[in-house]
């Protein structure tokens, strides 16, 4: 197999677009949340300013090697997730580095960042960070379970592990989307989706009012800025997977932006309506409501 060098600049372009879109989207979703609470909320460019400021801080201290690597792992988790999945269906420029069987790799990358973060935050030695990680990992596992089941169900349904082929199978009309051909799997996955977006009711891990802000307690300056960048990439990358698997993918950037926004809005919508769960409550919720749906979807397929 020959490697197509032209893919590298194109992938970087994808990354650039997604980072900017992610920053704006995050702020927009926060603004929507604020509007529901009758506030104006942060300015739409606030995340950029925060990032510049964090890079601009003059001092930063370290707690060891893993402390450095935590944010790096996290960022590479987000970037990897994005780059190994075709962003725009049918476009040579933006199909990135996708290949047959990339679905498994994507699943792996979803978890990769969290694990790296766990190691890094663990080295910071702060008890709040350790508690945050314990909570984060257990909730994450519970939330990934229905998603994983749904992915298997979809893979069985289309008899392939390639995201591109799954998208291809959904072309030709809205009724071909997995949403309509396999509603059980999509429901299970969308319930799991709530758990990984760090919005209420499942944001106990990162909520500032709980054990202060969880894993990143000790992170500051450029470390934090790296993680902020990841906060822009990761949700979008994750939503791209959902979009490709369940909602027919996107043919151009306009559809892409629109679909990603709508899927993100789903978590924001649930977030402003429901109060926060404790960790054991949310795990129970996932196991009771989402996992059986996922199992059922596999059985039905």
């Amino acid at each position: 197999m020959s490697f197509d060098w032209m893919k590298i600049p194109y992938s970087l372009l994808t990354l650039f677009i997604v980072v900017n879109y992610g920053f704006l989207l995050n702020a927009l979703i926060q603004k929507i949340g604020a509007r529901v609470g009758r506030r104006h909320g942060i300015p739409i460019w606030q995340n950029y300013v925060d990032m510049i400021k964090n890079y601009g801080l003059r001092s930063s201290i370290t707690h060891g090697v893993m402390f450095y690597l935590g944010p790096v792992f996290r960022l590479s988790g987000g970037v990897g997730l994005l780059l190994f999945v075709p962003t725009i269906y049918g476009s040579y420029m933006f199909s990135n580095l996708s290949f047959a069987g990339d679905l498994i790799l994507a699943l792996y990358f979803v978890f990769f960042g969290t694990l790296g973060m766990a190691l890094g935050a663990g080295e910071s030695g702060h008890p709040h960070a350790a508690i945050g990680i314990t909570r984060g990992l257990s909730q994450m596992t519970a939330a990934e379970l229905p998603f994983g089941l749904a992915v298997f169900s979809v893979a069985l349904q289309y008899q392939t592990l390639s995201v591109t082929e799954i998208v291809a199978a959904q072309q030709g009309g809205i009724l071909n989307w997995t949403l309509f051909t396999n509603p059980l799997a999509v429901t299970a996955a969308m319930l799991g989706f709530l758990g990984s977006m760090m919005r209420p009711p499942f944001d106990v891990v990162l909520a500032p009012q709980e054990i202060p802000i969880g894993p990143p307690t000790e992170y500051h300056s450029s470390y934090l800025a790296l993680m902020q960048t990841n906060r822009a990439i990761f949700p979008v990358a994750k939503i791209v997977i959902y979009m490709n698997l369940f909602f027919g993918g996107a043919d151009d950037w306009l559809t892409f932006c629109f679909k990603v926004f709508l899927i993100y809005l789903w978590s924001a919508f649930v977030g402003v309506v429901f109060p926060r769960f404790r960790v054991e409550q949310s795990i129970r919720w996932f196991l009771v409501w989402a996992v059986p749906l996922g199992v059922l979807s596999i059985v039905v397929v």
């Binding site: 604020a34 009758r38 104006h40 942060i42 606030q46 400021k53 601009g56 001092s59 930063s60 500051h220």
Partner: protein
Amino acid sequence: MAMKPELMKRMVKGPDGLEFEVEPLRDYYCEAPPTVMPAAYIKIVEDLFNWARAESIWILGFGTGCGAIEMRPLMTPRFDAYRYGVQWRPTPRQANLFIISGYLSTKTLKRAIRAYEQMQNPKYVIGLGSCTINGGMYWDSYNTIKRLDDYLPVDLYIAGCMPRPEALLSGFMDLKKLIRAGKGEGANKYVENFDWYKANQKRVIHDWDMPDYNW
């Protein structure tokens, strides 16, 4: 100087039977003194950073006196400080602005110093209420400090007892002007006059049981 027993130098027996000496203040903390952090070399970069610092003020959520109650309304729809780029952070590592919201008892002062020193340069301090300026109505109390400026480098005072949230908002606006003009150098001032600040702090804190600078 009374020291807590767990901070004393002592012999400890490890799980493998080896005995070794532990001196908590030496072994567990970094002893290096803080240094002056120069601004970015190129002026336009520093200006950009200063602008970003002014537009993204992260407050440490730490309330000391009665004035703390005035910070909470700022998060509500009525005042909504978020639209000015002011946000609250729960940990000193990520915060830039420390609002001393009222009187500081000497006990709290110790915590305030620890929190302040853990913040990253550049950092700013706002003294809220007359208690931080001259002791306010606690001027003759045996247990509170009178002038905050003797212990931490204050960038801005907001006078009143207690100041309204509007006063805080306008204080933020003034702080932004200071930062943008490059005058928010409290952290470096603290380092330059480190001995003076430490002497003042140690004069009122009698049970000093922490390293000189809490990294």
